[in-house]
């Protein structure tokens, strides 16, 4: 408060401009107004010029009939739906491939990352080779490889690789039996839910009892029994209300069953393998960041190697791993937009591709698409920050 003028100093007050706090505020206001004004001018000018050139503007096109078909849709969609619906279809496909990619990349990354530190020479070198190969080849090439060289070079539907007439793998994708839930399956579903909740409480109770009394409890076996037993009883009692829709060869390809299209397969594989290599390095560095003394101390206490890893090393390593892991997840979600290169109908291919081209409204479509990726990244980021805060060192 030394700079603020006192009450008695009214006679010779220094210029406000010499007050750094005032000056900082002033410059921030000027900068904000300039940026806002520039954006306003940009938007206004774009609209004005597009109108001048007879280019349609606005979002009314979202209600028009799309008239084209999309290869894979998680919601009901056909040619008679609107452009707005194509957005939803594309978005869900993007979320699907990002979700699957993140899931598998995490598994691959943690496995390879731990293997990289293995004392077994072969395992160690294999992990290193994996990391160096897949981290250093551009992702687009890997996608092309898994798609054009692997997925669509599988045998045709008539010569499909089959597993006992139930599952078929061909260049049209993987066809597996699809469960058909009949009336009364709800009770089984309810039983599963109940079993899960029960097991969670059981595990908590068992841990508390162990901490209080030191008596162990066979949580794993009891939990498994409940998880499988309860739904099984409900399932049998309600009269097995589940049948399978088995894929059948007919006409050009298989019909029925659940189809995993080769585009989804190739893209998920490429994203998981590529990002997995980066995650593996993150995991390795995280584990190595834990001081060696920690491991030695655990050994001195007589903990087994696997326990040391699980109880001492990993929890501490996670604090180092999570922030870069977040970046990898964000990259994966954004990289999924390379889907268009192999015809996977993601948001960029469907909405920023076909819809943009059929309507010609580039500015609107690209703006929406950019907003979606921004939102998606922010959501992942917020979630990972929350998880990071939870895992952070709690000082007592």
């Amino acid at each position: 408060m030394a700079i603020a003028p006192g009450k008695n100093q009214t006679a010779k007050q220094p210029s406000k401009l010499n007050d750094p706090r005032f000056r900082a505020l002033l410059f921030q206001i000027i900068a904000s107004v300039t940026v806002a004004g520039f954006i306003y001018w940009l938007v206004n000018n774009t609209l004005h010029n597009m109108a001048l050139r007879g280019i349609s503007t606005g979002f009314a096109f979202l209600n028009n009939q799309a008239g084209f078909s999309i290869l894979q849709s998680l919601v009901e969609y056909d040619e008679t739906h609107t452009y707005g619906r194509t957005f939803v279809v594309g978005l869900l496909n993007t979320l699907l491939v990002s979700g699957l990619g993140i899931f598998f990349a995490t598994i691959v990354g943690f496995t390879i990352g731990v293997a990289r530190l293995s004392h077994n020479w072969l395992v160690n070198r294999l992990a290193m080779t994996y990391i160096e190969i897949f981290r250093n080849i551009p992702l687009l090439l890997q996608i092309f490889f898994w798609y054009f060289a692997v997925a669509i070079n599988l045998p045709g539907p008539r010569e499909a690789i089959q597993i006992s007439d139930l599952a078929f793998l061909s260049n049209r994708g993987l066809f597996i039996p699809r469960p058909v839930f009949e009336e009364g399956f709800g009770i089984t579903a309810l039983a599963i839910l109940f079993a899960v909740i029960f097991v969670i409480f059981l595990a908590r109770w068992a841990r508390r009892r162990r901490e209080m009394t030191g008596q162990p409890f066979h949580t794993v076996y009891v939990s498994l029994g409940i998880l499988f037993g309860l739904p099984a009883i409900a399932f049998i009692v309600t009269g097995t209300p589940l049948s399978w829709d088995i894929p059948e060869m007919g006409g050009f390809s298989f019909s029925g069953g659940l189809a995993v299209i080769p585009e989804l397969f190739a893209l998920t594989l490429a994203l998981s393998v590529y990002t997995g290599a980066f995650i593996a390095e993150t995991v390795r560095s995280g584990i190595q960041a834990v001081a060696h003394g920690q491991t030695e101390a655990a050994r001195a206490l007589g903990l087994r190697h696997s326990w040391t890893l699980r109880l001492i090393v990993i929890p501490q390593a996670m604090r180092v791993i999570i922030p870069p892991l977040t970046s990898q997840y964000l990259n994966l979600a954004k990289n999924s937009s390379l889907a268009a290169a192999i015809g996977y109908p993601d948001l960029v291919a469907v909405f920023a591709g076909t819809t943009l081209n059929q309507t010609g409204q580039a500015v609107e479509v690209i703006s929406i698409t950019m907003a979606v990726y921004l939102t998606l990244s922010l959501v992942i980021s917020v979630f990972m920050n929350w998880y990071n805060a939870r895992m952070a060192l709690t000082e007592r």
Binding site: R53, S69, I152, T354, N357
Partner: protein
């Protein structure tokens, strides 16, 4: 490809916002005149229409349309620069001013003509959509295609026509859409799809790209009207006139029997129609803002419509497509140009 498209889209925004209120008629004409060449948007490689040979020289009917425009503008058909574009990038590239004319097997439709801020200057090729299937499927009509997987290039009218055709015939299909026609061919060859669909002319062009062209056949059904032609920006009438009349001059030349071979000798011909086309009497070049011999230069350097057709897609080419609908009106086709007078 994706990146390029986004850049094009951003460029569109940037160009629209920066050039505040400068979209008056005559802008393109003047800018082409002053920069000394025509920037022409073509495909990324479609034999017969626009394809770069091993020396990097662009060839094809769409390429010749641009060369004709350059011949009319500068008296030199080589003053063209080509921008290869995929189907998704093409309109944005034209709207943003990245190219002066889009000559890229583009179908003239109501919505493209009215809502994109573009104008179609004419029809260089009357096309229609067809289907190509593998011979071993033993299918000879498109009516038996229910349940088939179909490879399509994204961002084309093709996507919509297929949907209409299958819907109206109560058939189902799976559409696999790729960015470029090369990818559709690769996927078709690998057997990812049973059918490749595109404009019939393109099917013939893509067929010769297959490793074994004889194993594929084009089905007889033509399911749509696809008039292909050059496109310019709307509200740029002087430039529109040049592009439109460059094509009309070629059609008129074929009708009058003028070819690149005989055009010099025809200068002494007494036929007033021929003399008008060659700019020797009657109409003046200044009406369109060009020299009097603008049409002569087109015929001399690029040839008449028939020559252009035969050389690129017709008898004289690997595609060997018959004139059919693209014959002159006087020979039972649809090619008809208003007279030069």
């Amino acid at each position: 490809m994706k990146v390029k498209m986004k850049i094009a889209a951003i460029a569109a925004v940037a160009a629209c916002s920066m050039a505040a209120g400068t979209a008056q008629a005559g802008k393109t004409f003047d800018s082409v005149k002053s920069k000394g060449f025509v920037q022409c948007g073509v495909s990324t490689g479609l034999p017969g229409f626009s394809v770069a040979d091993d020396k990097g020289q662009w060839k094809g009917i769409d390429v010749d349309v641009c060369r004709a425009v350059a011949a009319a503008m500068f008296g030199d058909a080589s003053k063209v620069k080509f921008s290869p574009l995929n189907a998704k990038e093409r309109f944005t590239a034209l709207q943003s001013g990245e190219i002066d004319v889009l000559s890229r097997n583009t179908t003239w439709t109501y919505s493209r003509d009215t809502s994109l801020g573009l104008n179609f200057a004419g029809v260089t090729y009357y096309d229609g959509q067809g289907f190509m299937v593998s011979k071993k499927l033993k299918i000879n009509t498109a009516k038996k295609l229910s349940g088939a997987a179909i490879c399509i290039q994204a961002g084309t009218t093709t996507e919509l026509n297929v949907a209409d055709y299958f819907r109206s015939n109560k058939m189902t299909y799976k559409a696999i859409t790729y960015d470029t026609s090369d990818e559709t061919v690769k996927a078709f060859e690998a057997g990812r799809c049973d059918v490749l669909t595109s404009d019939a002319s393109q099917l013939y062009a893509l067929r010769i790209k297959l490793s074994a062209p004889d194993n594929a056949i084009v089905l007889p059904e033509i399911i749509s009207k696809e008039p292909l032609g050059p496109v310019v920006r709307q509200g740029d009438d002087e430039w529109f006139n040049v592009v439109r009349w460059a094509l009309f001059a070629q059609i008129n030349a074929e009708e009058a029997g003028l070819t690149s071979g005989n055009v010099d000798g025809m200068k002494t011909n007494k036929d007033p129609n021929i003399r008008r086309i060659l700019g020797l009497e009657g109409v003046k070049g200044e009406m369109i803002g060009l020299k009097d011999d603008w049409a002569y230069q087109i015929i001399k350097q690029v040839g008449n419509y028939g020559e252009m057709f035969d050389r690129n897609v017709g008898k004289g080419s690997a595609l060997g497509i018959a004139r059919g609908q693209n014959a002159l009106w006087s020979a039972g086709g649809l090619q008809y140009a208003p007279p030069i007078r």
